[in-house]
Subunit: 104 residues, 4 copies
């Protein structure tokens, strides 16, 4: 089962700046060989369900190992059985619709 | 690693009523032997990370098997290493604070 | 437009315990006169869109005023035009389905 | 109060393809004059709290007007009082950290 997720990890008890922890997770996801794209409020990741979920778990383990005593993550997960769809397809689909209506 | 999650699964392409799919997931979670509590916009589940995540995956598989071609799930995941905490502890902690301030 | 939301507010930069901030938000929501139900990973709230959103904004203002320099909130919002539905209706609908299948 | 949000709107009861509804929301957000960036699982938007929330409400109204009887939205909301921060700042901060560690 292929999955596209949006992953936003928030360490608590480490002060107000969280970029070092987010960076560590970027490395975990990259090292897992998963397609991903960081945006301003999370990271899109896609791949086989078990591989993506293993990376999310490793991020929690890594962020705890860096010293964060508490973590709260928000994860959106999309699966479909009707057709194959990748992250860029979703963006292309909306952009095609916008252009078709002559509004971009 | 113990986790407390909030799980909200939304099948697409099956019409406007989703209760049959949510019910099927309640049975998956119960059959996994995991502590859980359904509320009006999701279900809290707690247990070992791998067991909780296996149940979430089985819910996606089951809802697809019931005929939903597309699923989007929102999942919050909380882990902590500083102390053991269960779902009811979180609620008790807020209620104790409310009562201590004489506001309930 | 009536809305049912699930609201989870997380203050950053204030240490690992967040119950005082969550309690303050419970008081904001109660004082707004909105139906609500706290669970282990958030609070369900329902009412007119503008009233619910005004309460969410007041929670951010209050938690900042208590000293939290940064806040991240996760909010699910449900609206429907086909029929009136309240929080308990959603729970009753799933429970009726579970009982109809003789599985509870 | 300035806010950065991540907005993901899901219409129910309209079949499996949702791109026409997402496109309509892109136009609503653009017409509101708000900075925004669409990714594969939502749209980042930033601006004054009331303006951003008014756009989110207009999206629900528009998607219902297009015929969707039910909508579920997931919204993340970030505010901070310690300093001004824009969407690109968050991305730059993580990238700077990654480069500082020689890992990009």
């Amino acid at each position: 089962m292929h999955v596209i997720v949006d992953f936003c990890i928030v360490p608590l008890g480490v002060g107000v700046s969280v970029s070092a922890y987010v960076s560590a997770c970027q490395r975990v996801i990259r090292d897992a060989g998963l397609d991903h794209h960081m945006h301003a409020y999370g990271t899109n990741i896609e791949g086989p369900w078990d591989d993506v979920m293993a990376a999310v778990k490793r991020c929690h383990e890594e962020v705890h190992a860096m010293g964060a005593p508490r973590i709260t993550t928000t994860l959106k997960l999309g699966t479909r059985t009707d057709r194959e769809q990748h992250m860029q397809d979703k963006i292309d689909s909306v952009n095609a619709d916008l252009q078709g209506q002559g509004t971009v």
